[in-house]
Amino acid sequence: MGSVRHGTALLTKGTNVSIDSAPVIQKTTPRSVVARTFGKWGLSGAATAIVFVGFVLVPLVPGQFWIYVATEILILGLLAMSFNMLYGYMGQISFGHAAYFGLGAYGAGLLMRFFRPGGGEIGYLDFFLSLLAGPPVAAIGALVISVFVVRLTGIYFAILTLAFGELLYYIVFSWYSFTKGDDGVQGLLPPPFFQDAVNYYYFTLAVVLISALLMWRILESPFGYTLRTLRDNQRRAAFLGINVRLHMSVNFVIAGTFAGISGALWGPFQRSIAPGLLGWQESGVAVFMALIGGSKIFIGPMVGSAIYTFLHAFVTIYTVYWPLTIGLVIMAIVLFAPGGVLGLFQSWFDRMTKKNDATADRSAQTRQDENTL
């Protein structure tokens, strides 16, 4: 029963991924400026460009604090974007996605400690080798778990991913001899060049940018469009001859791998890792970010990460009642902006880029047709 309603809700909503409309503009009005500047790219492209420029400029802000915040935004944003490959594009909500983030962090962190058993600064080669070890660990974890979770959908998918995530958490938590359990792994000092906050920030930006480009390439490929079909109507997809479980499984592993990349970046950034990285609270953060920013738009989760992380850094300066604050924010978003912050912009943007009502209605109609698949 639940799944049926879920499915129809998704169908009527359709996808909001912008398609170029390229209207011809004569007069110069605020509306036409927006349309001329960004209409060609669509909101997704415009938002991506703005976000990217913003990130490049962050180190101009005085003070190390905001560079740390921006690095955190990037890393958690990549985690949220990888989560959104499952949620926004495949229509399944995972409550255990941080497990792969944590596996990536532990894969990289433990190898760093292997190269430098006492902890402390390590060489460049060892550093890069360690980082490279993170994503495969996450991918293997995701591969094993995907075999089981892709058999289910909806609430059952959510709870099974949660259960596996928590299981991994408890394994890391309890396996003291290998993972140092609750103590976590300390002293993950990167090589001298990367100890500088700005350098590590730009390094993170480069890795996240490359990951995002890869993710975009995957999601705009026929594979990506098959995922959208699975989201909108899994039964019809199966009738079309699509191997549903295989596609879900492959996407699950890819999303887990990207989560692993972000996890690998986390240890050298924080200089330590702890089992909590795998826990469901961390998974919940990824879910929040995707929904705050807008899960129907590619860059949405990154925007959500910026809002969430910035708010967290800002609010915790003044009060210990952070949960209350973020709770009210989430409630407001769910009630008044169900498409997330970018979803709000999307409707505004659609109004701004309309040429006139008649053609706009027609193009909106074609867009609807194109998007409903």
Partner: protein
Amino acid sequence: MADLNALLIQLFAGLSRGMVLFLLSAGLSLIFGVMNILNFAHATFWLLAGYITVTIYAYLADTFAPGFLLLVPAVLGATAIMVALGLLIERVLIRRMYDRELPEQLLLTFALVLILGDVIKLIWGVQNRRIFVPVTPMQAFGVFINPYYFFLIGAGFAVAIGLWLFLHRTKYGRIVRAAVYNREMVNALGIRIPMIYAGVFAAGVGIAAFAGGIFSPLLPMALGNDIDIIVQCFAVVVIGGFGSILGTFVASLLVGIVYSFSILIWPDGALAMIFLIVIAVLIWRPWGLFGTELRS
């Protein structure tokens, strides 16, 4: 071999833990079955009710002599307050979520968890609260056991039987069960679905509040307890099968006892054992031990 007495005490602790889980999961399962809302905040209502009970009890104990009987007005008062709060939340917030997607519903109720958790912190501070009811341990099966365990287990059984009788033997119970299977048809028969929704939500919150009240002498109320419990309630509901009172009951006892004994063997991993059961059930019988395949 482990001490037999210790095992027996652990069994009673597990059974009473199972009763908390049952009282919470029954409401959770009913609300999900009827309204299709998975209420993340269910255990937070339970926790809030526990704090309210402690406060009413403390107030009464100042006026009268502390004792077991004072629990009755304290629990009833807390339950009444929570039912009113439940109705208010259903009318103001939950009502808007009926046609939304599952993640949005989860997110809204999770926002409630965060907000109510901080409200508790604002009102009661961060210390744990509990009621000290003067009871003398009684001897049963050769060990000394807090007699309150028997009361709790009895109360759990009473609610389970009462709920079953309500759902299967009364007119309103039949309407609720009908709404689980086909709410459009129930609506078409002239029954006002919004009233049913509000009633079911308030009743679920009421049972949770009752559980919070009667357990406050046994479990200290602490921030974060709600999250610990709600995850286990999800486990119970999945293991038992959504919408099955019997399944929820059996799964609650199973999870309570497994948790209780795992603490003896692998203290850090007690929850991991429960998740293992969840994984096994979801892979083997996704609709739960007592659920029907139709509802998966």
